[in-house]
Symmetry: C2
Subunit: 116 residues, 2 copies
DNA sequence: TTATTATATGAATAAGTGTTCATATAATAT
DNA sequence: ATATTATATGAACACTTATTCATATAATAA
């Protein structure tokens, strides 16, 4: 490694990177959060909930698939605080956890030129 | 499904969700993009490149691991247009693809209360 | 040309993940 | 209490994915 034209700047960037690298715990948390929203069936759930809160029956209606599969995905999203739940009688009503979720989805859509 | 207190609104939300659901292709592209940034080793690479462009040697230095493993991860990030590459002599210099990448990382950090 | 340096990649293995099926829990109705 | 409705969950299987090892390519130097 002596021939790169920008060797010196790269070495400084690497040094800064080592100083400013988030902790392993933060990296793991970020990875888990992104993993939670990186599966098609879970993304569909999020886009569905973007239209407003819904109970499981309607989520299944909106995104397709079996009740069991949707329920498993809801748990993953909930465990990662991407969505939240409240009980209403026999139903569990789900909604997006906070505005960050929508913001990230919209940013990614813009990045990829997806229509919303 | 007749007992939920908000049955009617949920049904409307589900109906809107079906109309406004992104195409399967867009969902797949979004899922792939999030999957690309949902692994600890790849996230470390992104946080490293946040400090500026770097060639592989310095990325390996900044994030640890073997050259081969880093190279495989770089390909995944590149295939998903999260990072871009240019050749400089014998070196390949990598950098973040665009501002969206940093924006998404920062949003997620705020969501999870990670320090940057 | 041959050697060296920088980076990429195919194959293999090990670990992780999504769905299905069957069943469990929890609330309500009879 | 029993039945019904809504949702959740454990286990199993198929599929995917990250890393390692060995090797390939690409640029440059001698």
């Amino acid at each position: 490694m002596k021939n790169c034209e920008h060797e010196e700047e790269h070495a400084y960037a690497a040094a800064r990177a080592k100083c400013n690298m988030p902790s392993d715990d933060d990296i793991a948390a970020l990875a888990a959060a992104f993993k939670a929203i990186s599966e098609p069936s879970r993304l569909k759930i999020l886009f569905a909930l973007r239209q407003g809160e819904m109970c499981v029956y309607h989520i299944v209606d909106a995104v397709g698939g079996t009740q069991s599969a949707v329920s498993h995905q809801l748990r993953i999203l909930r465990d990662n605080r991407v969505i939240k739940a409240r009980r209403d009688g026999q139903n569990i009503v789900y909604s997006l956890a906070d505005a960050h979720v929508v913001a990230v989805l919209e940013l990614a859509c813009r990045h990829l030129n997806c229509k919303l």
